[in-house]
């Protein structure tokens, strides 16, 4: 078969010493970037781009790709250890992962995240090689109407993943949507709610808000009087480093399901990877015999989204490799790297640049192998880091977050904004609002509004497109049924509560 010949060719390319080295550097830098809070893959890839000019194009791209999916591994680390998601895709991991860490199970959480990511990465790489070209059709079948419906579905997922009041979760999503409206309007360019602050002209950055409501808020909360005891308890409780047999058995089906969901959703440019991680979480919560464990340290809540986001990170290369169209900002930078080397990727890139395409695909598998070899031993080090006294830990996190946020745009105002969102996050905690739905609302808000408006522009204001286009209709139907499934038990519980109260 052609594929085997191609893959063999790819491995020959990827296994050359220079490319192996590039792959290793990419994986290491990616892990580092993922672990450091605030520093995003976009900023790092942009900074490293000039270095790649001196390298052969294949090696350069292997390295950049390594940074991209390596950051997915590293991103889970900060989410689990200190509750700071560095990327939108690891917001969900923070929910149960950090709870596990609080229960002294940071080791198993980190290990299962790495194992899940590795499995998902391997499967997704094979998928790219075998089905890359046909799967491209999916990316093209998604027009504005379909994206809008997908975003609606995504917001319903955000409701499901809330562990407290549904009303409060919905309010947080809408708050997030409202925050995402800050900046310039896509259609008219009008400045919205930016109060003439130039740094707000392009809206609030994800890193800024995430560092604030997760990172800074968590620190401030931990400094509260009375919180010390809790922390010391966490430090004493640390149990085994590696997952137990039961953990592995519990997480196998979530890893499998997460991989499937992530592989499919990852192909969709624009928000696919983000939705993948919490679609996976929602699925596990809905399938679980005891959903109340979720949000309180369920290992499935780490295994599924981590597998999903890594699978998505791999399959998101499909539009780039088959169409030559970058599906996100990091890939756009990779196209830039290729352009500088005189290769402009297009639909024929697979035929014209077999070294590049197949070398990259093969390197992804090698990269994933390297990442798990790097990450499993690191688990011990990370867990030991938790034993550092909090009085030294928290100022260090503050500094790392501040540098990270500053580095995104070299904008001091972003750091101040993150501080303000730290106070907002502190307030949210005090009133028992959850920050995760807020962040997801913020990430999905612009995508939802833009696609809604695009769809309505193309249909000339006819709202029925969302129902007449089959894919869109199916997505909306799934969203509606999921909402009903979520709200019904809550209503029933409320009624029961009322009854028990009246009996007293």
């Amino acid at each position: 078969m052609d594929i085997f010949a191609n893959l063999a060719h790819g491995f020959v390319v990827a296994l050359s010493p220079i490319n192996l080295l590039m792959c290793l550097i990419g994986a290491l830098v990616g892990t580092l970037v993922g672990v450091l809070p605030g520093i995003g893959t976009i900023a790092t890839v942009a900074m490293l781009l000039p270095i790649t000019f001196g390298l052969p194009p294949v090696g350069a791209l292997i390295m950049l790709a390594g940074i991209y999916y390596g950051a997915q591994y590293g991103g889970s680390t900060t989410s689990i250890l200190v509750n700071i998601p560095g990327e939108a895709t690891s917001v969900v991991t923070a929910i149960d992962g950090h709870q596990m860490a609080k229960q002294g199970r940071a080791g198993p959480a980190l290990a299962i995240a790495a194992i899940g990511s590795f499995f998902a990465g391997c499967v997704a790489t094979i998928l790219i090689a075998v089905l890359g070209a046909p799967l491209t059709k999916l990316a093209l079948a998604f027009g504005p109407a379909e994206y809008f419906s997908l975003m609606v579905l995504g917001l319903i997922f955000a409701v499901v993943l809330a562990k407290g009041s549904v009303l409060k979760a919905i309010a947080m999503i809408v708050f997030g949507l409202l925050l995402s409206m800050v900046g310039s309007d896509i259609e008219t360019g009008a400045s919205r709610m930016a109060f003439n602050i130039p740094e707000l002209a392009d809206g609030l950055g994800f890193a800024t808000v995430a560092m604030g409501v997760f990172g800074f808020a968590e620190i401030i909360r931990n400094l509260d009087a009375g919180a010390e005891m809790n922390r010391d308890l966490v430090q004493q409780k640390i149990t085994g480093l590696m997952p137990t047999r039961k953990d592995l058995i519990d997480s196998t089906p979530p890893i499998l399901r997460g991989t499937v969901l992530g592989s499919i959703l990852g192909i969709l440019p624009g928000g696919g990877a983000v939705i993948a991680s919490f679609a996976a979480y929602t699925l596990e919560k809905k399938l679980a015999k005891n959903p109340s464990r979720f949000g309180r340290g369920a290992i499935e809540g780490v295994a599924a989204p981590e597998s999903a986001n890594n699978a998505a990170a791999q399959t998101s290369f499909i539009p780039l490799l088959t169409l030559g169209i970058p599906p996100n900002a990091v890939m756009a930078l990779m196209v830039g790297a290729m352009t500088i080397h005189g290769i402009v990727p297009g639909p024929q890139v697979m035929q014209k640049q077999p070294d590049l395409v197949w070398g990259m695909i093969a390197s992804m598998w090698i990269g994933n192998l390297m990442l798990i070899i790097i990450n499993l031993p690191l688990v011990g080090i990370w867990v030991r880091l938790l034993r550092v006294p909090y009085r030294l830990m928290f100022p260090s996190i503050v500094i790392f977050c501040a540098i990270g946020i500053y580095s995104v745009n070299n904008a001091p105002v972003d750091v101040i904004l993150a501080g303000v969102f730290g106070l907002v996050g502190y307030w949210l905690i005090k009133h028992d609002f959850e920050p995760a739905p807020l962040l997801l609302g913020m990430v999905l808000g612009p995508l939802m509004e833009e696609n809604l408006r695009r769809a309505l522009l193309i249909s000339r204001g006819d709202w029925s497109v969302f129902l007449t286009r089959p894919l869109s209709a199916v997505l909306l139907a799934v969203a509606a049924s999921l909402l009903i499934l979520t709200v019904l038990p809550v209503l029933r519980a409320k009624r029961d509560e009322v009854f028990t109260e009246s009996e007293n």
Binding site: A190, M193, F216, D224, R391, V398, Y406
Partner: protein, 253 residues
Amino acid sequence: MAETMGHSATATRNTSVVIGFCLLAIAPQIFEFIWSIGTIFGWGAGRGPATVLISHATALVTGAPAALIGAAGGETKKSSSDVLLALIYSYPILAVAIVTLFMTIRSAQDYVGGVILMAVALFALWASSDLQGMRGFSFGAGTAPRMFGGLLVALSAGIALSGLLADGPSMAHYSWRGPLFVMVAILFFALAIRPLGLVVTAFASFMIAATGSHETRWLEAAIVGACLTLGCAILFPYVLGLPMPMFPRFLIQ
């Protein structure tokens, strides 16, 4: 605070909440006033403090009657942004504050949380009130913000209502030391990174943040801070290649 059971305690609690809401209702005006003091010293652009005070006071006092008369007279004159702020933001919150006086709050956490969130939503409604709405079949810039703003007003009202109807936790305790010093550290970092460079800024911010905890031991913090600064100075500019000033600007030139 010596708290006793019974009605008197709820009553005092309510008054403080009401006063808080009243302050919240004019918080943007107060903020602009404080901000405007800076213009005396030539910092930033904007209206002077006197103008701010007078225009907001007149807007707050005459806003409602003027708008009512305008509506009755069928006038469609556009109100100024100050008057809109009073109408869209301040009046509803003041109304909530008045209503609060006569209510028994069963869950302060939900009630206060809901009302503050409502204030955020109303503020967003005001902030997007100058944006264009629907133009034929196509959305205007203001359509979506107003839609989400309105939705959030409704949802937060629901949360506040649930705080009146169902028993729940009361207000959580806020501490001041941690938030204050962490915020000062962040602020210092933001203002100093450009002129003073990474080395000075990171160390100073580390020490300021460390002040936020009463467990901090100074010598230990200074040593760790110095090591961390050194680590950052190697890690960020060299390993990751992020362009960042390292030393104070005046030392380089």
